[in-house]
Structures are given as structure tokens and as C-alpha cells.
Symmetry: C3
Subunit: 279 residues, 3 copies
């Protein structure tokens, strides 16, 4: 059922005028690349401008993957040629900072891997809840000689402190739902069977509140907590530059030989595999 290009998409469901659901349905791995940027960008624009929307939940329809790493099969020029967004930032960081600032509450419900882009989207959203058994978060990039590009160096230390942020980023390993909660990588982890009920109830609750009170309160929290765009900007440039270096090309090639970008052990245990590429 997941084999047609046409069915691959980021789905937007309007549960009510106040409560939307965005579902990543890019089987088999929920890999995100330049081809998916326009669709996510359009969704963020709709979130930003809708007059009645109060809360949006991001989740996944793909077993095992919330949203995983960037698409390394895409041509590099497909990434580097994307025009900057309205903030002046490159497209991915642009749409992420716009989500953080939107006058709407964004909640990520993480089941499966949130690796790289998936982690970055979760970090840019307002709240993160995870399946204790099935969520895996990671910033794996340093393990492939890459610098992460979507804001985690600016956002992780503000959530969990410098020490744990450096462990996530420089250890580049898989973080399970339990450790993600202890580190503050997510708000809370729930037994998998309870996650959906919790997130649905919270979203419906917020959807019942007053939009202006939500938006003003969030705006004041943003003043106290969001990094400046100037702190986000260098990350994407560093990612693109790192991608062109021989060290990254060599490691990505080794990962490809192991089965990267195909269903299998590399994708489900990426943290383990980047630790096997040698010095």
C-alpha cells in the first residue's frame, strides 16, 4: 500500500476549525528532503495565517518512523538552490522558526524515530510527547561527519542544558523515550498505549481555550525562550558546507553500503551504525 509515489505525502486533517493534525506519510521511512519542503512550507503558512486555528498536532502514519533524517539521495543542488523563506533563513530553518513563532500551539507526538530533521521539527514545535517504548530521538549527524542544520545547537542547550545537549549532539546516539524525558528532550514520555489519548485530550483542551489568550501568552514565552534567528542561521550553512567535505561523503558512502535509505538495520539503529564507521 505504500509503494506509490502519489500516496507519499504530508497529510493535513482539519479535526475542527481549532484543531488540525499533520501526519507524515512518506513511506517506508519518513525520510524528509528538498522534495518535501514546499508541502511542509505550505502547511506552516496555513498554520501561521488561519484566523481560528489554535492547536496543531504532528504525528506519523509510518510504523517505526516519526520523521527521520534528511534525504541524501537528493541532488545537493536541490537543497542549495532552494530560495530562502520569508524570514531570510534557508527553507528548513525558516519554516521551523515560523512554526515556533506562529500564534498557534504546536505539539509533536513522537512514535518511532525522530532522527535529524524529525528531531529538529520536534525541537521547533512548542511541546513534545513521546512513546516510552517506541520513540527514538537523535541528532546522528556528527557520526557521519556532518554538522546538524536545523537548529538543534541553538535549541537543545536551552531545553536540557549545555552538558546533555553536547552529549546528544556529539555522542550522536539513539535516545529512547525514557532518557528523552529525563533529559527534557521531550516534555514527557508515556506508555505507548496512553500516548494518543493524552495528546488528543491536551489538544482538545487547548482547542477549547481563547485564541487571543493563547497567542499572547505564547508570544511572551517566546521572548524569554527563543533563540534569535541570527543564532539559527549559521547551522544550515554549516550543514551544507559539511555535506560537501570528503569526510562526510566517505561516511555517507559507508552508510549507504550498509543499507542507509533502505528499510533495515541501518535505519532502525542509526546510532549504532555511525559508531561503526571507524576513525
Amino acid at each position: 500500500m505504500y509503494d506509490s509515489e502519489e500516496t507519499k505525502q504530508i497529510r493535513l486533517e482539519r479535526r475542527s476549525p481549532f484543531h488540525w493534525r499533520v501526519t507524515f506519510d512518506l513511506p517506508p521511512l519518513n525520510i524528509f528532503g528538498p522534495a518535501n519542503m514546499p508541502q511542509l512550507n505550505a502547511i506552516v503558512a496555513a498554520i501561521e495565517t488561519d484566523a481560528r486555528l489554535k492547536v496543531v498536532v504532528f504525528d506519523s502514519a509510518v510504523e517505526g518512523f516519526f520523521l527521520t533524517h534528511y534525504d541524501f539521495l537528493a541532488k545537493p543542488e536541490d537543497s542549495s538552490s532552494l530560495p530562502p523563506g520569508p524570514t531570510g533563513l534557508q527553507q528548513l530553518p525558516d519554516l521551523l522558526v515560523r512554526l515556533s513563532r506562529a500564534p498557534v500551539v504546536s505539539i509533536t507526538s513522537i512514535r518511532g524515530r525522530a532522527t535529524g530533521v524529525g528531531s529538529e521539527l520536534a525541537l521547533a514545535s512548542d511541546m513534545r510527547f513521546a512513546s516510552r517504548e517506541k520513540a527514538i530521538l537523535s541528532q546522528w549527524e556528527v557520526g557521519a561527519a556532518l554538522v546538524p542544520g536545523g537548529g538543534p545547537m541553538a535549541r537543545l542547550p536551552r531545553l536540557m542544558g549545555r552538558g546533555r545537549a553536547l552529549e546528544v549532539l556529539l555522542g550522536a546516539d539513539d535516545i529512547d523515550g525514557d532518557l528523552a524525558e529525563r533529559y527534557g528532550y521531550v516534555n514527557r514520555s508515556f506508555p505507548d498505549a496512553e500516548l494518543d489519548a493524552f495528546v488528543d485530550a491536551l489538544a482538545e483542551r487547548i482547542a477549547s481555550f481563547d485564541k487571543k489568550a493563547i497567542a499572547e501568552t505564547k508570544r511572551l514565552v517566546n521572548v524569554a525562550s527563543l533563540p534569535a534567528d541570527s543564532e539559527i542561521a549559521p547551522e544550515w550553512d554549516a550543514f551544507i558546507a559539511s555535506l560537501a567535505r570528503p569526510a562526510a561523503q566517505e561516511r555517507i558512502k559507508l552508510l549507504m553500503e550498509r543499507g542507509f535509505h533502505k528499510p533495515g538495520d541501518v535505519e532502525t539503529r542509526l546510532g549504532y551504525h555511525v559508531g561503526q564507521l571507524g576513525g
Copy 2:
């Protein structure tokens, strides 16, 4: 025993020249309003200027309530006509920032509800300890179409990170002692039977230390951790503005019909009730 206006007060007990206790005794609910502002202001002024005082503990004499929400039966002009304090901020944020900066250690011992103002006082104090079974913290205001006014948008993200702060503020729900500890809303929660002994021992310990070393160390921590007053100021203005809007008036009216400001289920489960007011 709690029915006379004359017995309602904020009591200041000097346990020693070095260690004071401030007890909220405003039965039956420890609601805080413009009428209580001068008394708390005088206490903060005494804390700021006493030459020997080293530590002050805030607690409650009212079963079930540490210090709860603002008094919505008070006339709005009683709040809006209060003169600004010495910092130039409005009275409530003014006395809270002065408490944070005072050369004295402030500890809140939370048993019962610390909702709205009670949470804001706790957040402005230097340390917070809670009864695991009996403490409830919340910023319930968004649930009534209000914007909180006493600094939590500036203070919560610095304590617990942006995601958990947004959940507290936009979920507007009751947070128990266990979750308050996991989120860093309080330093620690203790079994109710152990809370007083811990807080007393810590306060006595600090009272035995050197005032100058305490004051200098706290001052340097403040440099690293306190929000600027300019970040606090807009919160009170946003609260007063939100209070005048029809959405808040309607929700407060609905809460009143359910029993707000009277002993009973609305006051003891305010988080639940603001979730029942509809969209």
C-alpha cells in the same frame, strides 16, 4: 474560626534575627487580591532592608491552599489604580522582582494549591519545595481567557525549558508534586510528613551562614539567571488588558456559576473546571 475579617492576614514571624517565616492565613482559600498587596509589600520591604536577616520561608496556614489565584471579586479599578512600586513595575510584579533580588534567601514551602499568584510568588522566590501528596501548582489563567500577569512567561522557561513552560501555561492544568519535581517547577517534592523538617533544617542551616557570602553569591547567580524587568513588565499589562475582554468576562462568569471563589470543587480542581467551559 476563619470567619472574621480581622483574622485574615499574612503573618510574619521572626523565628530568630536571621530566619523569618511568612505565613499566608487568608481563609478559607488564600485568595490574593489588591487588598493584600500593601501587607505583602511591607513584608518584602522589611526583607529587603533588614540588616541581619538571612532566610525567609513562605508557607500557608490554610488547609489545601498555599496561595491561590487573584481575587476576581475585587473591583478592577482596585487593581489598575495601584501605584507602581519602586522598580517602576506595577505592584505585584514589583514586589516579586524585589523578592528575587533581595540579599536574603527566600524559600517557598508548598502544601496545597499554588495557583496563579501562588505559583508566581513561588517562581519569584529563590527555592521551592513541595508536598508530594498535597501540593498543586498551576498557571490556570489561559483556561479563563486571561494572560498570567506576575512573571511566569519570563520565569518558567528559564526553570524548565520552553516546551514544559508552554505546557504549564497553555495547558493551564493542575500539576501535582511529582510532576512539578520532574519538570523543575519545584526544586524537590517530599512526602508530606517530611516536607517541614527538610525546609526547617535547610533554613536553619542557611541562617547559620555568613550574610555577606550569601548575598554576594546570590547576586552573582541573579546576573546569570534573572530576567530583566523589561521582560516582566508586559505581563501585568497583558493580564489587565485580558481581564477586560469579553472572552475572559464570560469565562469568569461561568466559573462563578460553578462556584469559583467559594470553597468547593472549582477551587480544588480548577484545572479540570477551566477545561469544561467550552470553545
Copy 3:
């Protein structure tokens, strides 16, 4: 075996060109003073400038002590006469900020007491892991009428929030491995039998990654998380000034009478003893 001055040292072991180990071997207590500054300074300079090094682990060879407090038997002028370091800061804060900024990952493996200087070194390093049973962290200085001098007022609130930082600094008590993890004082605590294997594996893993990706990622985290040197500078000055005051001289004298600077109960339960010196 630990009685010769010649064996007292800070040992540097090059496990590989990419992975070094620095071991505090200053028996019997791993007390750190002005005499040890040049050696640690030389090690930090080597860490900063080595072209191939990726990760350095700090640990201890002395049972019961990771690295403990400053040497109060040293002449005060030995501390105050040390020339400032390359950053313009005094020697101890200088070498600590240089460690934080070095393009190399620093990990502290804490077994035994990390009190005062030991805690400050741990806080300046990139990641901290502790023995659940055997680690004790503390900033005990306020208990002796001193102001800590090596950066903890700037660093602790950024790791654990203002409230818990003030409890550590103004409570001045011993913090065990379990509480250190709950507060974010360390990344994680492990059962003592598992600590070394975890730290070794993490260090070897990072040593297998690309140095440039490590260094760039850390540099971007630093932008988001390190205090400015101007925030660190006043702490050392405040420490030196506090050391000269009668209140500190009296308390250090009382501690000496109890056995400070000698193996025994004062050194192993310093938090308890500073609470017994009276008001």
C-alpha cells in the same frame, strides 16, 4: 605509596592520538591549589592546540576524591600573585573557560568528592557522568563564608535553573549521585560498576568521529550556552575578597580544628561540617 611529593601529579595519558585521559593523582585528598595551576594549565594548552585530539576524559586515581576544594594551606599571595591567563581572566577561571571553548570534547568521570574546584572543573567540562554510589558534588564555599570563585554562579543556573542552583550554592551541602542526576548537575549517574565502561565507550565513540564536525558543532552549542567571560570574571575576585574577611578566616580556622585538609570526617562529610560552625 602516596607519601612522596614526587608522585603527586596530574597525569596525562595519551590512549590514542584522538583520546586522552587526565587523571588527578594528588593524594591523599586531591586538594587543588596554586601549586597545581601550572600543570593543569599546560594540559589545557595541549588540549586546545593538538591537531588530532578529539576527546579528553578527566578522572581520579585517589579513592574517595575526584578533585576537591582549594588549598587553604597555601599562602594567599600564591593565589593572588598568579598572572592572568590568555583570556585576561585569573588563572583558574581562565583555564576553565579555555577548556569549555576548546575544539575537543571534555568529559568528567566523577567518582568520589567533586567539591569546590572539582565541581567547577566538572561544570566547565562538556559532559559530566557520576558514580551513583560514590560521587559527591558540592559547592561548599558559602558554608565557610566564602564566595565560590571558579564560575559556578554563571554555570549552575544554566544547567539546572535558578532555584536548584541557589540550593546547591546557598545550601552548600553534599549532593549525591542520584540527586546530581535529578538536578542536571551531571548528565547521568551510573551504578559504580558501570561508570567506567560507559565513559570509555562514549569517549571511544567520539574519538572515531570527524574532528571538524565535532569542533563546529561544539562551537555552535557554545554560542547558545556559554556565559560571557565578563560574567565569570567577578567570581574569582569575589572569592579572593571573601577569603580575606574575618568571617571566612574564622570558619576556616574552625574547620582546620576539626581536621580540614587531613584525611578524615571533615573532608569526607564537608557539607555536614560547614553546617556545624554556628551563626
